[in-house]
C-alpha cells in the first residue's frame, strides 16, 4: 500500500522543503513508516530543516553508485522512530543520478515504508525529472503570487503529461489580511486559475521561521501553520478533513470585498 509522493513547485523558495518536512513528520506522528528523500543534489536543505545535518554519513548518490547499502544512508529522525531521511550529496551535481536509478531505489524502499516523500529541486531540468520518475502522486506547492502560480501551472502541465494518479495543490504563505483588502489572491482565486484539487492552505506564519531555526517541524503545534500542516498531513493519509478552515473564512471576505471592487 506504500505511496510515493513528490513535492514540487517549479519556482524556488515557495516552501517545498518545509512542506515536505512537515508532512513527513505529520505522517510519522500518526504511526506510519515514512521515508523522505532529498533529491536536490548540490543544494540539499531537508537535513537542516529536520535538524539532522550532523548525522549524515552516506547519501543518495552513494546509494545509487553502490558505495553503501540503502539502510546505511537512511537517517532516523530524532523524535519519531518511524521517520527516516535520505539526504543527497552536497558536492555533486544533478546529473550524478538518473531517473532509472531513482525508480529502482524507490521500488526497493516501497517494501519498507508506508509513505515515501520526495523533496524536488526547483526548476524543470534533470533534478525534477529524477524526482518525479518514481512517484505516483504529486503535491504542487505555490504561493498566491503571479510568478509562483505561473510556474505551478507549468509544472502541473508537465505532471499531467506523465499521467500522475493525483495532483494536489498546497498554497503557502497566505495572508488573510491582504486577501481581505483585495491585495492578494485568495485560495479560491488560485484554484480557479490552476484547476487542481486543493490539499491545504498554509498561512504566512513567523513560527515557520522559528521552527526552521530550531530544526523542528511545527506540524501539530498550536500555531496557525502547525494546524494547517496537521490538516494537510491528515488529508495525505486519506482522512476526510473538510476544507472549511481553509476556504470558509476566505470566501466570506472575498464576497465582502467583491462588493467594493465590482467592475
Amino acid at each position: 500500500m506504500s505511496e510515493v509522493l513528490v513535492i514540487t513547485s517549479g519556482k524556488g523558495g515557495v516552501g517545498k522543503t518545509t512542506t515536505c518536512a512537515n508532512i513527513g513528520t505529520g505522517l510519522a506522528k500518526m504511526g506510519y513508516k515514512v521515508c523522505m528523500i532529498d533529491t536536490d543534489i548540490g543544494l540539499r536543505n531537508l537535513d537542516v530543516v529536520m535538524g539532522l545535518e550532523n548525522r549524515i554519513v552516506y547519501n543518495l548518490v552513494d546509494v545509487v553508485e553502490g558505495n553503501c547499502r540503502v539502510k546505511q544512508a537512511l537517517i532516523r529522525d530524532k523524535r519519531h522512530s518511524s521517520l527516516y531521511l535520505m539526504p543527497c550529496a552536497q558536492t555533486r551535481d544533478k546529473s550524478s543520478v538518473n531517473p532509472e536509478q531513482m525508480v529502482k531505489l524507490i521500488r526497493h524502499l516501497r517494501d519498507i515504508f508506508d509513505f515515501i516523500l520526495l523533496d524536488c529541486p526547483a526548476g524543470i531540468e534533470q533534478g525534477f525529472q529524477n524526482a518525479v520518475a518514481g512517484a505516483d502522486r504529486a503535491i504542487v506547492v505555490t504561493t498566491p503570487e503571479v510568478s509562483a502560480v505561473r510556474d505551478a501551472d507549468r509544472i502541473i502541465g508537465l505532471l499531467e503529461a506523465r499521467e500522475f494518479d493525483k495532483i494536489e495543490l498546497v498554497i503557502n504563505r497566505m495572508r488573510n489580511d491582504m486577501v481581505k483588502r483585495g491585495d492578494m489572491m485568495s485560495a479560491t482565486d488560485v484554484m480557479d486559475i490552476l484547476s487542481v484539487p486543493l490539499l491545504g492552505v498554509v498561512p504566512d506564519d513567523e513560527n515557520v521561521v522559528i521552527s526552521t531555526n530550531q530544526g523542528e517541524p511545527l506540524v501539530g503545534t498550536n500555531t496557525p501553520a502547525g494546524k494547517a500542516y496537521q490538516n494537510i498531513s491528515d488529508r495525505v493519509s486519506g482522512k476526510d478533513v473538510p476544507l472549511t478552515m481553509e476556504l470558509g473564512q476566505i470566501s466570506f471576505w472575498t464576497k465582502i470585498s467583491g462588493i467594493f471592487h465590482k467592475k
Partner: protein
C-alpha cells in the same frame, strides 16, 4: 485638473488581486500553447502552398501567430491561429 478625476473612477479602481488574476489568465494561455517556432514555420509554409493554388500571394510578408480570443470575464479564452496573407492578385 480636479475636473479630470471622477468620483466614479475611485470606486472603479481594480484591486491588485484582480490585476494579478487577469494577468495570469492571459499569461497562462500563451504558456499552455505549446507550439514551437519550427512548427509554426511549417504551418506557414503549408498554408502558403494551399492558398497559392487559387490566388497570387506575397508569401514573404505573410505572418502567422497564435493569440487568444473569447471573453475574459467568463474565463473561456481559447487560443486562435491568425494568418495575415497579403494578396497580390485575386485571379491567378
Amino acid at each position: 485638473m480636479w475636473r479630470n478625476i471622477k468620483v466614479k473612477n475611485i470606486f472603479k479602481r481594480k484591486s491588485s488581486k484582480e490585476i494579478a488574476k487577469d494577468r495570469l489568465k492571459i499569461l497562462l494561455i500563451s504558456d499552455r500553447v505549446n507550439c514551437s517556432a519550427e512548427t509554426l514555420e511549417m504551418i506557414k509554409h503549408d498554408i502558403a502552398k494551399v492558398i497559392s493554388k487559387y490566388m497570387k500571394i506575397d508569401a514573404n510578408s505573410m505572418e502567422i501567430q497564435i493569440s487568444k480570443t473569447g471573453s475574459r470575464e467568463k474565463g473561456n479564452l481559447n487560443p486562435v491561429l491568425n494568418a495575415n496573407i497579403p494578396i497580390l492578385d485575386m485571379n491567378k
